[in-house]
Each structure stands twice: as structure tokens, then as C-alpha cells.
């Protein structure tokens, strides 16, 4: 009897929480340049967002975001933006752009890993879609949830992603 009441109460509570969540969908908090964002494995600080000319003749122009990345975990990370990778999601006019290329500012090589306590400056580069009209863009940052003991094996695990912050701004160099 008591167990049935407990299960029923848990189901009702869960349902009520879901209804509350659906009634008032929470937008991730806004962030600005220079404000650090916790993505789970790394802390990302956006430093600049600017339009840039194409890398080579015949290619589209690019949108570049410079960020500072710091590994917050106790081991080197190859999945800097989590797994599967969730780099900052750039959207303009409601359209989400493909994932950016991430290169080290230090030597222009692709970012392959990030070591603890060694912050790196990197550039995220998106190619501008041909039909893009200059205007504000929004960047959504996702945080991956870490559980020290997951529900399956009791092992530490990286689980779901949640939007944790959003930055809306007009890129530098936009008319």
C-alpha cells in the first residue's frame, strides 16, 4: 500500500514537473563577449565575433569567433565539445548553420585535444551561406551533464546536453 502510494506520488510529481517545464520554457541565460560559459568538460570564453574574407579565392566569406578554452576535467580531452560533438550552434534568421571548423590560434592546426590547466585560444570558422543577409546571429552553447555515478553501472559518465547560454550579437564588420 505504502509502496503503491509512493510510486503514484513520484509519477504525479514527475508529470507535474514536465507540465511546468512545458508551460514556461526556459531560454538559456544570455551571455556577452568576455563572459565564461561552462560546457561541462571545458570552459569557453567568447572573445570576438567578426566577418572575415574567404580563405581562398572562390570560397565564401567566413564568420570567425575567437574563444578561449580551458579544460576543467582531470585528464586530456579529445572530445572538447563533448561526444557526440556539440560545438556552439550558430543560427541566423532561424536557420542553424553547419558545424564550424576549430583551429588553434597558436599554429593554425585543427584542435585535436585540450590538456588540463593549459588554456588555448582557438578560432571557430563558419562559411557564410550564399543567401545570408547581414544581421544579428545567435550562438547557443550546450553543456554536457556529468554524473559521477550513472544509473546503469554506477560509473562516471557524460550524458545529455542542455542549452546553457545564448549570445546574440551583430558580427563585427557587418554593414
Amino acid at each position: 500500500m505504502a509502496a503503491s502510494a509512493g510510486v503514484a506520488a513520484a509519477v504525479l510529481l514527475g508529470l507535474w514537473l514536465k507540465v511546468e517545464e512545458a508551460r514556461a520554457p526556459q531560454d538559456p541565460p544570455p551571455v556577452a563577449l568576455g563572459q565564461p560559459v561552462d560546457l561541462g568538460r571545458v570552459e569557453l570564453t567568447p572573445l570576438s565575433l567578426a566577418l572575415a574574407p574567404p580563405e581562398q579565392q572562390g570560397e565564401p566569406a567566413r564568420l570567425l569567433m575567437q574563444v578561449r578554452l580551458l579544460n576543467l576535467t582531470g585528464e586530456s580531452q579529445t572530445a572538447v565539445f563533448g561526444f557526440p560533438p556539440h560545438p556552439p550552434e550558430l543560427a541566423s534568421g532561424g536557420v542553424v548553420w553547419p558545424e564550424p571548423e576549430v583551429t588553434l590560434d597558436r599554429d593554425g592546426e585543427m584542435l585535436a585535444q585540450l590538456h588540463p590547466r593549459l588554456a588555448e585560444r582557438v578560432t571557430l570558422a563558419w562559411q557564410l551561406p550564399p543567401d545570408w543577409r547581414p544581421g544579428p546571429v545567435s550562438l547557443t552553447f550546450h553543456r554536457q551533464i556529468f554524473k559521477l555515478r550513472d544509473n546503469l553501472y554506477g560509473m562516471s559518465n557524460w550524458l545529455l546536453f542542455q542549452p546553457t547560454a545564448r549570445m546574440t550579437m551583430l558580427p563585427e564588420g557587418a554593414p
Binding site: S76, R106, H115, P116, R117, L118
Partner: protein, 181 residues
């Protein structure tokens, strides 16, 4: 009075269960490699290989040649170059290395130094044939002293051996180290 007895039994059960949950070792601490600590200069014996930490160098930058291009890598930290001598004892195999820093943080082989001459990630070790290899790590300078080189026979090494090799005496930090083919 009967009710009091039942409540006491439930409370005692809950306390026992809580105690077991708190004291039971978690998955991560149970599913681990078996550690063997090896003093500086000594040869460590793992289940499927033996290895010795033969040399340690520190540099601000490293230089090497890859695919016909001369590359120079710099860092906000320091490059630690560990030289090892190892041989397999059961079958041909590769080795993986991690630098466990003074703080306990674990630094993987630097992917920015991939394909250096004699690099550990491309080396195979054969039974009965001693072979030398170089492992390059990128880490903050204060993680070097008090750290150890951890060698494993596979990339997970769960329930397998892990050699924790103490480093030889720390050398002077050099501005650049060039890896010759």
C-alpha cells in the same frame, strides 16, 4: 508496541542499506588496471611487457619533420619528452603512455607531436626484442616534478598491468628540441 517494533525494523533496514550504499566501492574504483610502481632507473615488469624509463627532457618548443614539412610546436606549458626502452613478453603489441602529473591530473600523449621520429604511438614492441621509443607530453611546468610516466599495454588496460615509472633526475629546460629522423 508491535508498531514500534516494526518501525524499528524498517529504520534499521534503511540504515543498513544506506551504510552499504555509502561504503560500496564505485565502478570506477573497482574497474581499474593493476598498478606497479617502479623506482627511477629500474625495469618494471607488467603482465605482457617490461619497460624502463631511460631519459627525460624538457623543452619550450619542439621541432620535427612530417610529410616533408618542417614543423615547430610551442606551448604555454612545457613539452616533456620521455624516452623509454621496452619489450613485449607474450606477443607483439603497442604501448600507451600517460603522464600523471604532481596534481594527479592525467596528460595524454600530445597529438601535436604525432608522427615524430621514434614516437611511441607508432611503435610496435616484439617479444624478446628490446626497442626504444619517445613519448611527448604537453603540460604545465609544475606538473613535472612529482609526476610519473604510466605505461599500459592497451588503451583501456582494465584489469591489466599499468607501470608507474618514476622519472630520472629532472633536467634543465631547453628552448627547443629538434627530433632528427
Amino acid at each position: 508496541m508491535i508498531w514500534l517494533g516494526r518501525i524499528a525494523i524498517v529504520l534499521a533496514g534503511a540504515a543498513l542499506l544506506g551504510g552499504m550504499m555509502q561504503t560500496a566501492p564505485d565502478y570506477n574504483s573497482v574497474v581499474q588496471p593493476f598498478r606497479h610502481h617502479v623506482a627511477a632507473g629500474r625495469t618494471g615488469e607488467a603482465r605482457s611487457f617490461r619497460a624502463r624509463f631511460t631519459g627525460l627532457r624538457l623543452a619550450d618548443r619542439i621541432a620535427f619533420r612530417r610529410y616533408g614539412r618542417d614543423l615547430v610546436r610551442d606551448s604555454d606549458g612545457v613539452f616533456l619528452i620521455a624516452e623509454i626502452e621496452a619489450e613485449a613478453t607474450l606477443a607483439s603489441q603497442r604501448l600507451d603512455a600517460v603522464w600523471q602529473g604532481a596534481s594527479g591530473r592525467r596528460y595524454a600523449l600530445s597529438r601535436r607531436a604525432e608522427d615524430i621520429p621514434r614516437g611511441l604511438e607508432s611503435r610496435w614492441f616484439q617479444p624478446g626484442l628490446s626497442n626504444r621509443a619517445v613519448a611527448v607530453f604537453e603540460l604545465p611546468a609544475d606538473e613535472v616534478a612529482g609526476g610519473a610516466l604510466v605505461l599500459t599495454g592497451s588503451f583501456t588496460a582494465v584489469f591489466d598491468s599499468a607501470l608507474h615509472l618514476a622519472p630520472p633526475a629532472l633536467p634543465e629546460r631547453r628552448p627547443i628540441i629538434r627530433f632528427e629522423p
